[in-house]
């Protein structure tokens, strides 16, 4: 029997009436980078919480690093690392003190040589005696990854590792994440709602929406599954669905706000026909999408990832948005 770094069967987490994670099955082999891609509120963070033992499992089974999360959570916690979406460090403490505390929490004794190596690897060695509050966001993120690596975990969980970072820092982190995975041989499970991030980093992806996995596989494999292009179209005059459907080569028509999204076999063949058919209506905007993870998501859920995110399911985010709206 193959032992997976992460394995889940029928994993479910409910908060009252809300099912945040709904019968999820996972098989993550050792040594890879596995991505959970989905909009905000899809259940990505909740999956991390139940797999790391931070939250109780409502039903189903999960094992991480060879131990059952439900019955032996402490054994799991000795073997996992965690990088939060928001950087969580003791700002009043130095990098070295943060590492010291992490070593204490993981019950490590001769941790100093490794801590120094990690600081060297992340280029933080000469700043180790400075308080973390003087660090840039990129440095803080690096220190957080160093903390996660200190006790040589088998699996590292990264929740939206590059959310809110500038493009330069994001690219640096991508390199670090693949580097850590390659050089330390650690399995990484990361969540993201950035398509290009999941595409660039992950060997395997599961697309998640409303707490359910809608598709899983390698990014290239997922892309090849969608044997269609998408054309997004906005016209100046009202156009009815039947007219668009009548255009040869259009297999599906969906309305998305003011725009239409047409699923077509080949954009190159269909575009001239669209111009032909709609020449009197005035095309305001037209956009062609070749197969990408974005179109995979669109094809499976009928929504774009960022639009799906606006259907807020998480009540805290909902209230936060209400507060913002009230100004």
């Amino acid at each position: 029997m193959v032992e997976y770094a992460i394995q889940a069967d029928g994993l479910t987490k409910s908060y009252g009436a809300l099912t945040a994670v709904d019968h999820v099955d996972m098989r993550v082999p050792d040594g890879g980078i596995f991505g959970l891609l989905g909009p905000n509120g899809a259940g990505k963070t909740t999956i991390i919480k139940v797999l790391t033992g931070l939250s109780d499992i409502t039903s189903g089974e999960a094992s991480v690093a060879g131990f059952n999360v439900r019955t032996e959570p402490m054994r799991v916690k000795e073997r996992i690392g965690w990088v939060a979406a928001e950087v969580i460090l003791d700002d009043d403490f130095t990098a070295w003190e943060n590492l010291w505390l992490q070593a204490k929490l993981q019950r490590l004794t001769d941790w100093k040589p490794r801590a120094l190596e990690l600081l060297r690897y992340f280029n933080l060695e000469d700043r180790r005696k400075d308080k973390v509050q003087t660090y840039s966001t990129g440095m803080r993120k690096k220190l957080e990854i160093a903390l996660a690596l200190l006790h040589q975990p088998r699996v590292i969980f990264m929740d939206e590792p590059t959310i809110g970072l500038d493009p330069g820092t994001r690219r640096m982190l991508w390199e670090l994440i693949t580097g850590v995975n390659r050089e330390y041989g650690i399995t990484i499970l990361l969540t993201s709602h950035y398509i290009e991030e999941a595409d660039a980093l992950c060997g395997q992806i599961s697309i998640i929406d409303h707490g359910k996995f809608v598709a899983s596989g390698a990014p290239s494999e997922l892309k090849s599954r969608v044997k269609a292009d998408f054309i997004e179209l906005e016209t100046t005059e009202a156009v009815d669905e039947a007219r668009l459907k009548a255009i040869p080569g259009v297999s599906e028509v969906r309305s998305q706000g003011k725009a239409w999204i047409l699923r077509v076999a080949s954009a190159e063949e269909v575009l001239p026909r669209i111009f032909q058919s709609l020449k009197t209506d005035g095309i305001r905007r037209i956009n062609v999408e070749k197969p990408s993870l974005e179109t995979v998501f669109l094809d499976l859920t009928g929504k774009r990832i960022d639009q799906a995110g606006s259907e807020i399911r998480d009540y805290r985010k909902f209230y936060a948005s209400v507060r913002r709206a009230r100004g």
Partner: protein
């Protein structure tokens, strides 16, 4: 720990303090040291925390203690049913006892801060139990409260109070304050275990401080009280600490039974609080 489950042989490998036993339990000694030390560093690196801790009881001693300065001592002796050097001398053990009521608030606030900033998740994603987090917070609070004791004694000296007596009695007095402070820290942390609101600790502090301060022997002898207040004072641990301390500071004698009551109070709060916190401590 079997080697095949630990990765990253490229770099030096730390070892775990003691080999884990099979099953769910992980020993908590190392985590306890780490988290308690964190509490201490956070307190003593922030001088304002110390200033706030000390100012309030100091104000009581300075202002309230001086409010009978022009009353003849014989009148005060009649009112307080004892022979005193000054009201400040009478008040010192009481003020130190009542200030132990509020120190739990700081531990509570630091716990809520950890929940809100996500640090609680960082702690609990390691093999650290909720009980360990709870105990280090309670002990951190109590330690912070202890700083008041030497400062208040020096302040009382400055106000002209003269001390004498057996060092053993003094050690007993301080131990009694430790029990009281630790007990109330445990209480505070247990009732705020599931709270994430900054305001909760302040509300609870206001709610318990006033009645427990006045319905105790801390400021005046309980024999002056109406019956219903005497009844509260009888069950109020602040009374025991104030009476125990006053015996030592004013009369130079100790009723060790009071220390026993205080130890019992601390023990009950510790056990009950640990049970509550390991069940209800929220992570965010």
């Amino acid at each position: 720990m079997s080697t095949e489950t630990r990765h990253g042989a490229v770099f030096p490998s730390p070892t775990v303090a003691s080999p884990p036993a099979p099953g769910a339990y992980v020993s908590q000694g190392s985590q306890f040291v780490g988290l308690y030390w964190r509490e201490l560093l956070r307190t003593f690196r922030n001088p304002w925390v110390l200033v706030i801790t000390i100012v309030q009881p100091f104000m009581w001693l300075a202002f309230f203690g001086s409010s009978f300065a022009n009353v003849p001592l014989s009148d005060l002796d009649a009112l307080l049913h004892t022979q005193i050097q000054s009201y400040t001398q009478f008040l010192l053990p009481g003020v130190l006892s009542t200030s132990m009521l509020t120190i739990g608030m700081f531990g509570s606030m630091s716990t809520i801060q950890d929940k809100r900033f996500g640090f609680m998740k960082r702690i609990l994603i390691t093999p650290t139990s909720k009980a360990t987090v709870y105990l280090t917070k309670a002990l951190g609070s109590a330690t912070r409260g202890l700083v008041q004791i030497p400062v208040m004694i020096v302040a009382a000296l400055a106000f002209g109070v003269r001390f004498d007596g057996d060092p053993l009695l003094w050690a007993g007095w301080i131990l009694g304050l430790v029990f009281l402070g630790f007990g109330f820290s445990c209480f505070f942390l247990a009732v705020t275990a599931s709270s994430t609101d900054w305001q909760t600790p302040g509300v609870i502090s206001n709610f318990i401080t006033m009645p427990l301060m006045f319905a105790s022997g801390a400021l005046f002898p309980a024999s002056n009280f109406p019956t219903w207040m005497q009844y509260i004072a009888k069950f109020n641990p602040v009374s025991y600490s104030a009476l125990f301390g006053r015996g030592i500071v004013v009369q130079g004698t100790a009723d060790w039974l009071y220390l026993g009551y205080l130890a019992l109070f601390a023990l009950i709060m510790l056990v009950a609080g640990t049970l509550v916190a390991s069940r209800y401590l929220k992570i965010e």
